[in-house]
Amino acid sequence: MKHPGARRWFLVAAVLSLGLGWAQDRLDPYFVDILTRIGINVILAVSLNLINGHTGQFSLGHAGFMGVGAYTAAALTLFAGPKLLPAGAGFWVEQLWFLVALGAAGLVAALAGLLVGAPSLRLKGDYLAIVTLGFGQIIAVIFRNIESLGGALGLNGIPARTNLFWSFAAAALTVYVVTALVNSTYGRGFLATHDDEVAAEAMGMNTTRYKIVAFVTGAFFAGIAGGLSGHFTLTINPKGFDFNKSIEIVVMVIVGGMGRTVGVIIAAVLLTLLPEGLRMLSSASPSLKWIGETRPLLYAILLIALMMLRPQGLFTWKRKKGAVTA
């Protein structure tokens, strides 16, 4: 099954991001806020889907790569930017520097992905899950121990650079690259690794290489998402990129359906809206206040129920031809 629509979707999304960037100041700030977060979460979910869905690995450390990206980008705009750029640089110079920072965030995160992935991707399934989980912990400990990056308190006062344009443009790029990659001739290898690793190896494929490529690409986009997220919340600390954040992204991928890009995008949108809905419900009346704190509980129930009843995800209607639901 080919996706000739990948490029078309990319165009639509690019136009959308330009339009939204223009509309930024004309929209309600609350909606801008939610839309920006939707863009970031789509990047995270789609990039993790390349690893956990298409390639059939199980990473529990996606937030770690996000953290690497967030710290890299923030360091560039906070510390390096003022030194390198002329004082009073205009809007476009700032935006250009932000683009550089985002690129660097992606590259450093990808490098981290290579460092973690190369040794551990020889492992399978649950071992990989634990190693990536451990990586997330180690990253948090490292950031906590680097005083110049704010230690446990993290970095504050990051300039507000992320807007709807950046968030959606990056999301569009992520969706395009992942879709195009998976549907290319080379990309068949990801699916083969997912479907039957042993058979793929018997056909002479280097499955470890495919896994590493998926891992590094996923980490790259997670790093960009981290850079966007840091310049959106304006403050980052090691706790923001812990296991819970990783699980949040994993839940998006699972709800959407592992290996189903459209489903994962829908899930990312809905699960960004979910906490807002819960907050609205809980503030509606004092007797409903408890609802606001039930999100992790809901995630837990969602995970268990989906695995029992619909392991292919909520938003998967067609089964891929010949695909094994895993």
């Binding site: 040794p119 649950d126 190693v131 451990g134 994993v250 992790p296 509980l297 837990a300 995970l303 695995m307």
Partner: protein, 296 residues
């Protein structure tokens, strides 16, 4: 020097509790070949069962403390069996990933339900067992550490006896070795799996009780960190290998305590995982494990 010995004793007692948890991971991995993520939260429930039964019982005595520990062991054994029956058994024929995700879900469920039931604030654990400190040649020893070590040794002895000498234990080893063949020999696999979960969970509960006795502040997320370390211990020793899990637990406990006492103390939380990555790189089968060829 005396401080070093003190650290070693402290580390051994922490390690003993890691060992108790690690054995649960290893037992379940042995029969079902998956990581029971919820195990660390069974450990947490173990401390809370101890907390409530300790309050009901009141007082500080050896008999009372033992009773409280037995209560949490029985409670958690039932919980473990229940989790397996409700969450894992329906998925037994599915892919390992499905079971793994379910296990993560169960773990989150236990933590969050724990938060609703037990509250979010850390609670002081009642002194159910007597405790003193005494000096041996300049080394200050807390009786808590000795009690933890003693209890763990007894439990490990009992486990060794069950696994090696009883009929159930033989059946467990048979199922771990080859489930289908075991089933053909008339072993009721479901029953053995339930028993394994019960046994592992009871040990985790004992660990939870002892943990709360040594560090008497308990909260619903207390299981996460020791659980992960214990899992690393199980891998370090060679997953599926009970002696290995015990050895790995003790080793990690000592290493962690020594690092915590050094000037690199802020890196303590990363130690276990750095070790894990190193083991998986250089000796993936663990210290005492055997390399197994994958069957296709």
């Amino acid at each position: 020097m005396s401080e070093f010995i003190q650290q070693i004793i402290n580390g051994l007692s922490v390690g003993a509790m890691y060992a108790l948890i690690a054995i649960g991971y290893t037992l379940v991995y042995g029969v079902l070949r998956f990581i029971n993520f919820a195990h660390s939260d069974v450990f947490m429930v173990g401390s809370f069962v101890g907390f409530y039964s300790g309050k009901v019982l009141g007082g500080t005595s050896w008999a009372g403390g033992l009773g409280v520990m037995a209560a949490s062991m029985v409670g958690c054994a039932l919980l473990g069996i229940l989790i397996e029956r409700l969450a894992y058994k329906p998925l037994r024929s599915r892919s390992k990933l499905t079971v793994l995700i379910t296990a993560i879900g169960v773990s989150m469920l236990l933590q969050n339900v724990g938060q609703l039931v037990f509250g979010t604030n850390p609670q002081p654990f009642p002194d159910t067992l007597p405790a003193t400190t005494f000096q041996v040649g300049g080394v200050v020893v807390s009786s808590k550490d000795l009690v933890v070590l003693g209890f763990t040794l007894c439990l490990l002895g009992a486990l060794e006896y069950i696994v090696l000498k009883t009929k159930v234990g033989t059946a467990m080893r048979a199922v771990a070795f080859n489930p289908q063949a075991a089933s053909l020999m008339g072993i009721n696999i479901d029953w053995i799996i339930s028993f394994t979960f019960g046994l592992g969970s009871a040990l985790a509960a004992a660990g939870g009780f002892l943990w709360a006795y040594k560090f008497p502040r308990i909260e619903p997320f207390m299981g996460v960190a020791p659980g992960l370390t214990a899992f690393v211990a199980a891998v370090l020793g060679g997953i599926g290998n009970i002696t290995g899990a015990a050895l790995g637990g003790l080793l990690l406990g000592v290493i962690e305590t020594l690092v915590k006492g050094s000037r690199w103390s802020t890196w303590t939380e990363a130690i276990a995982f750095v070790l894990l990555i190193l083991i998986l790189l250089f000796k993936p089968a663990g210290l005492l494990g055997r390399v197994q060829a994958e069957k296709v």
